[in-house]
């Protein structure tokens, strides 16, 4: 088991190298760099621009730049953001915390809704309830995320019940810690709902399908033939087995936390990693983009690994390797 994890971690190294190289290369495809805007600005002296270019190594050919970046990155120095004038690592970790809060809240909503509801409608297959939930969930799958986000903003705007966008009230600086926390929760509700409800539908379909599959298995029939109560048959025998494909899905969603929330973060002004990355790409903030990409890729790979480990814990047939 431990050896398996170590091996998987080692496999991540060449992958991350490849990803970082490609990301670096792609950013060189577009003409210009961070200083392009400055060059067009008559108030910035060309000498200063050249000094900046030299300082950040932008005057060297890009493969050389990449090697420099890589050497620093291996020493856990991800460089400075041009735009924020702050170490990239510090920026990323601060924003990642915010993304994490949003992602966990939305996952609690989507998984907390989808799992029991999926089991429930699978057991009552073809009932009215099943049909209604199915239609709603198809609508949920097809509704674009930004549409839900706009709806939520409209709701907040019209009712004044919840804050519109952002993570803290402007005056939050003067709040008590407790007040600060509740204020953050109030800001969290809408983006978390938008993300959670959006993600719920897919999980629900998967849970229902998987549950229907296992309910038709002979071991479920056999469990009934032993006189077990229907609750026990459903939860201990059918559900335990129906959960396995969902664990894989959970791993993917864990891995996709970052990209998944990027859109909502941007529309609803949640100061997370997704928003940071988009801003950085637009500003051609090279090292910030690189740091975020590599961080995102590492999260993706770690998420997959976590899912595989969970699956091994849940399914004895996979434990054998």
């Amino acid at each position: 088991m431990l050896r398996y994890i170590v091996r998987r971690l080692l496999h991540m190294i060449p992958l991350l190298l490849g990803i970082s190289f490609i990301s670096f290369g792609i950013q060189q495809l577009a003409p210009g760099n961070f200083t392009t805007v400055m060059k067009a600005d008559p108030t910035v002296s060309p000498a200063y621009v050249r000094q900046l270019e030299h300082q950040f190594g932008l005057d060297k050919p890009w493969p050389v730049q990449y090697v420099l970046w890589l050497r620093n990155a291996l020493h856990l120095n991800f460089g400075y953001s041009f735009a924020y004038k702050t170490p990239v690592a510090q920026l990323i970790f601060q924003r990642m915390g915010n993304t994490f809060i949003l992602a966990v809240a939305s996952m609690i909503i989507s998984w907390g809704l989808a799992i029991p509801l999926g089991v429930w409608i699978a057991v009552r297959k073809d009932s009215w309830l099943d049909r209604i939930v199915s239609i709603l969930s198809f609508a949920g799958i097809s509704a674009p995320g930004f549409f839900l986000a706009l709806l939520a903003l409209l709701f907040a705007e019209h009712t004044g019940f919840l804050p519109v966008g952002g993570m803290h009230a402007p005056e939050a600086y003067f709040f008590t810690p407790w007040h600060n926390f509740t204020d953050m929760l109030a800001h969290l509700i809408l983006p978390a709902l938008v993300l959670g409800v959006g993600g719920c539908a897919g999980i629900l379909r998967q849970m229902r399908g998987s549950m229907l599959d296992t309910l038709g298995e002979i071991y479920v029939q056999a469990a009934r033939s032993r006189g077990l109560s229907e609750n026990r048959v459903i939860w201990k025998h059918a559900f335990r087995n129906a959960l396995n494909p969902l664990i894989t899905l959970f791993g993917f969603s864990l891995a996709g936390l970052l990209s998944g929330s990027a859109l909502v973060e941007n529309v609803m002004a949640w100061p997370g990693l997704g928003k940071l990355i988009l801003d950085a790409v637009l500003a051609r903030d090279l090292y910030l983009v690189m740091g975020s990409f590599v961080m995102g890729a590492a999260l993706l790979l770690l998420g997959n690994l976590a899912a595989d480990i969970m699956l091994m814990a849940a399914d004895p047939r996979i434990r054998m390797e």
Binding site: E217, I218, R226, G227, L228, N241
Partner: protein, 336 residues
Amino acid sequence: MHSPILKVQNLHTWFETPTGTARAVDGVNFELYQGETLAIVGESGSGKSITALSLMQLVPEPAGYIEKGSIFYKNRDLLDLTWEEMRALRGKDIAMIFQEPMTSLNPVLTVEKQIVEAMQVHGTATGAEARKRAVDMLNKVGIRSPQQVVRQFPHELSGGMRQRVMIAIALSNNPQILLADEPTTALDVTVQAQILDLLASLQKELGMSMLLITHDLGIVARVAQRCCVMYAGQIVEEAPTSELLKNPQHPYTRGLLASLPSRARRGQELYTLEGVVPPPTRWPKGCRFALRCPNRMDICKNVLPGETALSPQRRVSCHLYNSDSAEAAVPLENPS
């Protein structure tokens, strides 16, 4: 013989399907006596499994349902019981084992958990006592290293071992009746014989009654005292096994026997039954075997034959033996 422990009368179990009502079990009568093994034999699709599931009231819902009939056990009609009353009987009074040992155990639970659960739910044994009894049961079904096997998962066991575990689970509450639905069909031939002998000896030892479902007459000869032949949702012939094998009456039974490889003489071509079982949504109006029957008469196409008692222990549903319908009721030679 003593009174029957289970008496099935006029059982009809139907399915609503897109192509119409499938009358999978369509008027089945039989009695199971205390301490005997009764076989139900018939081709695949004749309704054997659905008969067994009907006894358990576990017919796949919502398509399947018991249309009518009665199932008497201990002077009560099981079909009158509430769901909870029936649940208390399942696995306690009437236990069942299935055809596919590969898929009839839960893959994510250890053998121990599955045996212990079966006892716990009926309060037969709990905790350490149940765990000890689980090992005893595995011993009883001929598993040599029960201490090790209890901790294993189903996928770590061979097919034969899994079927032994299924038997151990089924017998853990000392049931009165064991329903064995093709318990050896999915196994290698050598393992088949072992499992059959095991079932036969356990049945005697525990004094329980066994309903053995199979499509293989060779198996019937090995373990069952009496035998019902099922065709197209009905029982067409019933007889003590030895008599049935020596002197089959229904043309379908004769065909089944004649097509047994062990019965063929050297150098002779193996007899095969012509045609297939008609679909259960469209049973013919008359005798359901008529289309395939070598002894077909005019009446067979239009009138479903009733039961004729040939002796206190034998009955057959065929116009050949019905004095009203068959002028030409000459006993026939075996085919071939």
